[in-house]
Structures are given as C-alpha cells and as structure tokens.
C-alpha cells in the first residue's frame, strides 16, 4: 500500500504540474488574444501572402497563399541543408583522413583546420563570408569568367542553366541503370556466397551508369542545351547578367559557412571511426591473405562506418537546424519567410512559431527514427 502511494504520488504531482503550467499559459494566451483582437486559427494559411521572395526553387509570387510561401521557404531551407551536407561530407572525409596521415605537414594542417573553424561561432562565420568576403568580389561588368562560362560577382554566382528536351526519357534511363546496378550487386553477392567468385561489380556499375544515359542521347532523342549568362547593360553604370541560373550571395555565404563549420565535426567523426578499429583487425585480414584494397573495403570500412555514421547523422541534423541562421543574412529560408515576414504580417505568433518549430522537430525526429532503424540493422549480431 505504502509502496503504491510512493509510486503514484510523484507521477500525479508531475502531471498536475505540467497540466497547471500548460493551463496557465493557455488561459493567459486566450486573455491576451481577446484583448488584442486576434483569434486563434490556421485560416490565414489560405490567404494571399502578398510578399515577395528573392530566391525560390518553385514558382512563387505575392499572390500565392501563405501555405505555398511556407512550402517554398521550406524547400529553400532543404536546399541549403542538402548542399551543406554534400560539401561538409566531402570536406570532412578528406580532413578526417588527412588527420590520420603519416605526413607531418598534412596531419598538422588538418588539425589546425579543425581547430580553426570549430572554435569560431557559426553566425560570425556566416557574417564574415556574407558581409566581408563576398563583398570584395567584382561587380558584374568586371567579372572574369571561372571555367570559361560561370561568373562570380558581388551579386551572386552565375552558372549556365540546362535546357532539356525529353528529360523524362533521360531520367527513366538513369533510374533503369540504378535499378540494374542494385540487381547486379545482389546477384554478385549471391554468387560470392555460393561459389566464392567475385564479379567486377564496380566496373559493371560504372559502365551501366554511363552507357545507359548516353544511349538515351543517341537513340532516345534527348538533347541538352546550355543557356549561358550574358552581361547586359541596364544603364550607364548598371550591369547585370541575364540567363542561366543565379545563385544569390546569401546562399553561397550560408553554404560556405555551414559546410566549413560542420566539416570539422564530420572530420572528427571520421577520424574517431577509423581510429576505433583495432590494429588486430587489419593484421588478421592481412594474414588471411586479403590485399590492402580488400582489407580497406571488406574489413576496415564496414566496421568504421558503423562507428562513423550515427554521430555524422547527428551533425547533418545540426547542420539542418543551423541552416536557420539564414535569417540573419536575409536568405529566404523557413525562419526568415515564415517566422519573420509572415508573422509580422498576420500577427499569428503562436500558430506560426508553433508550425516552424514543429517542422524542424519533425525533420529531426524523422531522421532520428531513420537512424535508429539503421543502427538496429547494422548492429553486430553476437551469437
């Protein structure tokens, strides 16, 4: 009896506390909203947004609804995160491996790179790239082409855009190639398990993924044209580039800062992962007669990846959350567009901040769930 009370009483008190806090907030919110003449509801989502965005992936103008503005802004956030993740992975792996190099200079420069970029607040890095470094770029009329066709200017990075004909044929070829590669991998594994033979999977895959899309150009009637950015004079001293794709400086600054900053953490994960494999594994693999390449591919990497991937995913998640710093340099991401402009216009503080937080929360939880599933899958199954 006494025990039961001991178990139930604290729980009841905690629940009561939480309910009271929430109740207090709800009542206050109701009173406040009544006083200011705001009503709670999500009806505003279908109203006309009537603000513009500088940079969008989908078609958007001021006449679209708040809901559409939300979707477009979310896509901008995802674009930054996606680009950041790609670059930080590439950089992080290179730096992480370089930290384990036997070369004194490489090892130390990699270590200093990590110490340098990790210890400066991300916001300052973003500001540095945006307000200081990218402002030193030339004006459009003075810009020298990079790689012949792209222009890095103070107003952004101009790259040629692709104009496809019969894009769907090309895409289906690509998908077919990927499906075929997956099948071949499964088949090769079966063959290896049954007969011990190894198929040259990598070469077959490479061949498939180049030849099939190439065939679509030759036979499928796919054509690809490039639209080049061209310098155009607007007034006496005002020039812009027209045509092609313009990547705004905000995007460049953000992706640069995010990937440089996060790559240091990824590098540490990679280093820890590779160092976490005991030397015995390598020696055992060598004594079985595997070649160095095979050792890396079949013994070291599968085990190192098991250590590397979970913390790295965490870093990707951090990068996605940090991409909300975009609001500080006016890149139209979810926080700036939705929790900034839309909130100013509608005054629906609770709904809008709530939606924004829930969006990030669901991204985080989704990735965390995926991670748990992956961890379960790759777990070493001890007998």
């Amino acid at each position: 009896m006494n025990n039961k009370i001991k178990r139930i009483l604290p729980q009841l008190l905690t629940i009561l506390f939480v309910v009271l806090v929430f109740g207090f907030f709800t009542i206050n919110a109701q009173v406040n909203m009544d006083n200011r003449g705001i009503d709670f509801g999500f009806g505003f989502l279908s109203q006309e947004a009537s603000f513009d965005m500088q940079f969008t992936l989908l078609d958007y103008d001021g006449q679209d609804s708040y809901l559409w503005a939300y979707v477009v802004a979310l896509l901008n956030t995802l674009l930054v995160s996606f680009l950041g993740i790609i670059f930080c992975t590439i950089l992080g792996v290179i730096i992480g491996v370089a930290r384990l190099s036997q070369n004194f200079l490489i090892k130390n420069s990699a270590a200093w790179y990590v110490e340098f970029f990790r210890n400066i607040p991300l916001l300052l890095q973003i500001f540095f790239w945006y307000y200081a470094a990218l402002r030193a770029l030339p004006l459009p009329e003075n810009a020298q082409p990079w790689f012949g066709v792209t222009y890095m200017t103070i107003k952004g990075y101009y790259i040629p855009s692709m104009i496809w004909e019969n894009l769907n044929v090309f895409m289906s070829c690509l998908i077919a190639a990927i499906v075929a590669i997956i099948f071949i991998r499964v088949y090769a594994r079966k063959i290896q398990e049954r007969e011990g033979k190894q198929l040259p999977v990598l070469y077959i895959s490479l061949a498939l993924i180049t030849i099939l899309p190439l065939l679509s150009f030759l036979i499928g009637g796919v054509t690809l044209d490039f639209e080049m950015p061209v310098l155009k004079q607007l007034a006496q001293t005002s020039f812009i580039f027209e045509g092609g794709i313009a990547l705004p400086p905000e995007l460049i600054a953000l992706v640069l800062a995010l990937s440089l900053y996060t790559s240091t953490f990824v590098a540490e994960c990679v280093r820890a992962g590779i160092q976490g494999i005991s030397k015995g594994q390598k020696e055992a693999a060598a004594s079985v007669g595997l070649t160095p390449n095979q050792i890396l591919k079949l013994v070291i990497m599968p085990q190192a990846l098991r250590i590397i991937i979970p913390p790295t995913t965490n870093q990707y998640l951090n990068l996605t959350k940090n991409s909300s710093l975009a609001a500080a340099i006016a890149y139209p991401d979810l926080v700036l567009v939705f929790a900034g402009t839309a909130l100013m216009q509608t005054g629906k503080a609770i709904e809008i901040v709530g939606i924004t937080m829930l969006t990030y929360l669901s991204i985080s939880l989704a990735i965390a769930a995926l991670m748990n599933w992956y961890n379960k899958r790759i777990e070493i199954k001890e007998k």
Binding site: I15, N32, Q102, P121, L123, Y131, L361
Partner: protein, 422 residues
C-alpha cells in the same frame, strides 16, 4: 666485399642527396622570393609553366632525396615524416607553397600596411587593415551601449564572480562535503545577486542601467554564465527523470528533452521574443534579456540532461545495488552515492556543452540584443565608419577563437585527467 658494396651505394646516395637538396632548395627559394620580394627567378619560362615550375622542381628534388636510410638524422626524419611516397611529397610541397604564398599578403594586410593611429576614418591611409576602427569602437564591442563611466561596474562584477568561483579550491577539508552544495545552490544565487545589483544597479546608490544598454562581449558572458548555472540543475532533474522507473515522469522528461533538442535555437529565441509574451499574464512585463535567458536555459537544459544521463549510465550497477542494500531511499541514494560520482564523470561533457553555449550566444543578435555580433552590425552601418566589416569580423573571430580554443583545450585536459583517475 660487403663494405665496398656499401660504399658504392652510399656514393650513389650522396649524389642523390646533393641533387635532391639542391632542387628542393631552388624550388622553395623560387616561391619564397616570388611571394616575399616579388622577384621571379623562373620568369623566363612561358606563362603556365612558371607557376608549376617550383612544384615540378621540388617534386623531383624530394624523389631524389627519398631513401630508406641515409644516416643523417634530419634527412631521415624528413623522409619519414613528409616524404614517404610520391603522393605525400606532392601534398607536402603543395601545402608548403600555399603557406608561403598566403603568408606575405596576410602579413602585410594585418600588420605592415595596416593603420592603428588616429581616431577617425581618415587616419586609415594604408592599403591594409584599419585597426583604428577597432580601437575607436573597442569599448562598444566589449560593453555595448553601457555608459562609459560605469564600465568599472561590469569589470568588478565579473572579477567578483570569477573570484567566488575559485573559492571552492580553498575550502578546508571538513568543509569539502559542502562543495557541491556551494556550486549548485549558493554560488549561482550570489552570482546572480552580484550581477543584478552591480550591473543593472538601482540600489545601494548605483545608477540604474536598463538591459537595453547592455551589450558587446560582456553580454555574451552574462548570458552564457546565467544559462549555464540555471540549466545545470534543470538538466540534472531531467536526467534523473529520464532514468526514473515511473512512466509518467519518464515520458514527460523524454518528451521535454527530445522537443528542445529537435528545434533550432533561433526558433526558440523567436519564441521567447514574440510568442512568450502572449503566454504571460496581461500586466506582467518581463524584460527581453530575461526572456532570452530563460529560453536559452530551457533549450540548453535538454542538452545538459543528455550529458548528465551519460554520466549516470556510466556508473556500474553495483553502486546502485550497494546503496540500496544499505537501506537508502531514492533521494538519499542519488544525493550521497550516485550524483557525486556521476557529476564528476560529466564535467568534461558539461564543459563541452558550455563551449557550445558560448558559441551560440551571438544568435541573440537575431532578436535585437546587441551582443558583439550586434555591435558589429551597428558599427558597420555607422556612416562615419563604412566599409570596415572585414576588420570587425576578424576581430570578433579572433576573440571568440581564443575563448573557445582555451575552453576546448581545458575540457580536453579535464577529460584526460578523469580518464586516468578511473
């Protein structure tokens, strides 16, 4: 027979070493003279080749130098450390040349061509950095809009708080058991009172300074300090809650932790500035700084809780069992047996959380608090001082880098220390 073979080999080796070092020195000299004195000794070569000339030269030199054993200590360590394979040699040269090339421009921008004298923008005549700007704005970057003649209050408050932090070291042996009590309960309260009365004033004959005037680096310290001391107890409760075997408490703790860990700090700050006032009673006014500190505390507490949970999980089960077998209840067991051990384990982790917290504080700029990033934005748009964004951000970056680097080294040392003690 054997001896003569050795000699022949070594003769060959000697020539190789001479050729190799000559080529290597020549290549480094080329880059060095080029970048420091603008003398181009390979200028006679056609355009592109002249850029790659030192690389090719150095590469050949290193490959001549590469031997298994030469007998010269310096050469052997060189070979072992930076010249093991062709690829390594190439990377070595690449990095050396990149540093040699980048050093002179950076040096001349930061020091040789820079200006620091004078009080106005006109004093900056050089092509380098304008440190005059930093000099003039230094007080603003450090103290925000806090009145100049009252800066001693901020300084003395910080000194007092830091001094009180070290008091624990001088505790006598018989007082040591109260150490945790002092740091977790008494110290935060005293520190809060000191900062509140000394910096904001309004009592003891001190002039009231509203929080809107606080700013600069001192605000960074104030915010991160308060968030740390408040988030620690909250995190401890949440960590215990997450490990509790009472389902309601556990689920509420898990929900809290996962919620705050799932959202970016910037949305939390937005929440504190626009959504939070809606949740407070009508006539109740809460200062923006206080709201921000509460928001960051709630946010950091979730991270803190995870760190402390790690410490709790790292304790062997035997500790729990032993405490229980002595007839200790839940609270007695945790206060006297579990937490003292667990908290010692998590000190490095807490230091890391604090590091992250300090790095996150510039974000309060987004809700309009003029922390150092905010002061920089203000100074940058001042019509008298346009165009010095680079200097400002480099200055702030250097300051933050020093603070964070020192902290990360410290927490690393702590980690090493506690690793060996166990």
């Amino acid at each position: 027979m054997n001896l003569s073979l050795n000699r022949i080999k070594s003769q060959n080796q000697m020539t190789n070493i001479y050729i190799g070092s000559a080529l290597l020195i020549l290549s480094i000299l080329d880059v060095f003279l080029n970048s420091f004195f603008r003398i181009n000794i390979s200028g006679f070569l056609p355009g592109n080749l002249s850029i790659f000339f030192p690389l090719i030269l150095g590469f050949l030199g290193l490959s001549y130098l590469r031997t298994e054993y030469s007998g010269y200590k310096f050469l052997d360590s060189l070979n072992k450390n930076i010249n093991t394979t062709n690829f390594n040699a190439f990377l070595t040269l690449f990095i050396t040349f990149a540093i040699l090339k980048a050093f002179p421009p950076a040096l001349s921008w930061m020091v040789l061509d820079a200006n620091i004298s004078g009080d106005t923008k006109e004093a900056c005549t050089g092509t380098g950095a304008c440190w005059t700007y930093i000099k003039v704005w230094f007080k603003r970057f450090m103290y925000g809009m806090y009145p100049n003649e009252l800066h001693w209050r901020i300084n003395s408050a910080f000194l007092l708080v830091i001094g009180l932090g070290f008091v624990g070291y001088f505790f006598k042996e018989n007082l040591k058991k109260y150490l945790a009590l002092y740091y977790v309960v008494i110290y935060p309260i005293i520190a809060f009172l000191i900062i509140y009365y000394l910096i904001s004033g309004g009592a003891f004959g001190l002039v009231w300074v509203e929080t809107g005037a606080w700013g600069g680096l001192s605000l960074t310290f104030i915010v991160s300090f308060f968030c740390l001391i408040f988030c620690f107890p909250l995190g401890m409760i949440l960590a215990l809650g997450r490990r509790s075997n009472l389902p309601a408490i556990r689920y509420i703790s898990v929900g809290y932790i996962e919620f705050w860990r799932g959202v970016p700090l910037i949305t939390v700050l937005f929440m504190s500035s626009v959504m939070f006032p809606m949740f407070l009673p009508q006539d109740f006014f809460m200062d923006k700084l206080v709201r921000v500190i509460i928001a960051i505390t709630l946010f950091e507490a979730a991270y803190c809780a995870e760190v402390i949970r790690g410490g709790l999980q790292a304790l062997p089960r035997g500790q729990y069992d032993a405490a229980k077998s002595l007839g200790m209840g839940y609270w007695k067991m945790h206060i006297f047996v579990i937490l003292p051990q667990a908290l010692k384990l998590v000190i490095p982790g807490i230091a890391n959380t604090f590091l992250a917290l300090v790095k996150d504080t510039p974000l309060i700029f987004v809700v309009g608090l003029a922390e150092i990033a905010g002061m920089l934005a203000l100074a940058k748009t001042n019509p008298k001082w346009l165009g010095f964004a680079m200097e400002g951000y480099i200055f702030a970056a250097i300051i933050f880098w020093i603070i964070c680097y020192a902290m990360s080294k410290y927490s690393y040392n702590l980690e090493e220390k506690y690793k060996t003690e166990r």
